[in-house]
């Protein structure tokens, strides 16, 4: 099992940042400039992850050739140091909008840093729930569920949906909450509450991106649940020959999203 998991990690764990090109970061910037500090952090982090990926790939290849165990380093991206740094920077700007980007960094990039994630969510709830700056973090709140903070995440989303002054922030919170509810849904009622969140988005925003996100998630509710007619797949096979899922109507199909990697 370790191989697909690792492959998935290597494939998926690409830092998602676009590094903002800060003007000559080495000279003009004082240490207090939060944007520059953030850019530096992201740059150093991206480099560390990319170095790790190279090293991890080599280690995996070697282990496979030798038939030995994949070393532990290959399973764990070196995020700890950078998460700690982001926490420190968030602390320096505690209570101010500038702290939000560092808390967002923690939520986006933590792999194993449970306490840091929980702390970040707490801080967002206590210090930033009314701030306009929080909107950029909202999509990443969902990551909190991987760290045992589901309750806190949902509480914060509830707060934003009910009380945030900015409509787009509300809408973003609805998209995120709807997605999260859908992911956790066990009953048809659960799915209904997810669906309601996603449908409500259209009532409060005209933002094309948010509307598209909501529509996307609704597609899942309307087409990909047990009991739904499977969406048609018209594609090509691995050799490039066209075929369709419906060519197999009349047969029971086990549809398997897979790869050797």
């Amino acid at each position: 099992m370790s191989r697909p998991v690792l492959a998935a990690l290597l494939l998926l764990f690409t830092p998602t940042f676009v590094v903002a090109q800060s003007a000559d970061a080495t000279t003009a910037v004082t240490q207090q400039d939060p944007q520059a500090a953030y850019d530096e952090l992201v740059k150093a982090f991206n480099k560390a992850i990319s170095d790790w990926q190279t090293e991890a790939r080599a280690a995996v290849k070697k282990a496979q050739e030798e038939g030995s165990k994949i070393p532990a380093m290959a399973m764990q991206p070196p995020t700890k140091e950078w998460i700690a740094k982001a926490q420190e920077l968030a602390g320096e700007h505690a209570g101010k909008d500038n702290a939000v980007r560092f808390l967002a960094f923690v939520l986006k990039n933590a792999t194993n840093e449970r306490n840091a994630v929980k702390k970040a969510i707490e801080t967002l709830a206590s210090d930033h729930a009314k701030s306009a700056a929080i909107v950029d973090v909202v999509p990443f709140l969902a990551n909190g569920t991987r760290f045992g903070a589901t309750k806190q995440v949902l509480a914060l989303l509830d707060e934003l949906v009910s009380n945030h002054a900015d409509a787009n922030c509300k809408a973003q919170a609805l998209v995120t909450r709807g997605g999260l509810r859908l992911q956790m849904a066990r009953t048809p009622e659960d799915r209904k509450s997810a669906e309601k969140d996603l449908r409500d988005v259209a009532g409060i925003t005209k933002d094309a991106d948010l509307l598209a996100q909501a529509k996307d998630a609704l597609f899942e509710i309307e087409n990909l649940q047990v009991g739904c007619k499977a969406p048609e797949i018209a594609g090509v096979d691995v050799e490039g020959v066209e075929f369709k899922l419906s060519d197999y109507r009349g047969k029971v199909i086990l549809l398997d999203f897979w790869g050797f990697w």
Partner: protein, 111 residues
């Protein structure tokens, strides 16, 4: 995973059953395809797969796949009956029941 699937294909070769993959090995590139062919031979993968990257958006994006492997169980009428049953015994039971239903439907149609 693959050995179990291989055994299902063998076991139900005369039944209304098929495994269809959506493969993400990058077979749209020559290198990916060569590697796929080699691995498929070694592992005995005889069933057909869609090329995930062969559609836009990728099939896995349309189907909101979050992790690999992801399984959908689709009945003879094209309806999703189960998702992500992973336990091999449970999987086999679910598919066996669906095959019975497919055969029953085929018989009543003939009459």
């Amino acid at each position: 995973m693959i050995p179990h699937e291989r055994s299902l294909v063998e076991k139900w070769k005369d039944k209304p059953f098929a495994i269809l993959g959506v493969n993400s090995d990058g077979t749209d590139a020559a290198e990916g395809l060569a590697k796929y062919r080699e691995e498929a031979k070694t592992m005995g993968v005889t069933w057909r797969s869609f090329r995930d990257e062969g559609s836009t958006p990728k099939i896995s994006d349309t189907w909101k796949v979050q992790g690999w492997p992801t399984l959908y169980f689709i009945d003879h009428e094209g309806v999703i009956r189960h998702k992500d049953v992973r336990d091999e015994a449970e999987m086999e039971k679910a598919l066996a029941d669906m095959i019975v239903a497919a055969e029953t439907a085929a018989k009543s149609k003939k009459k």
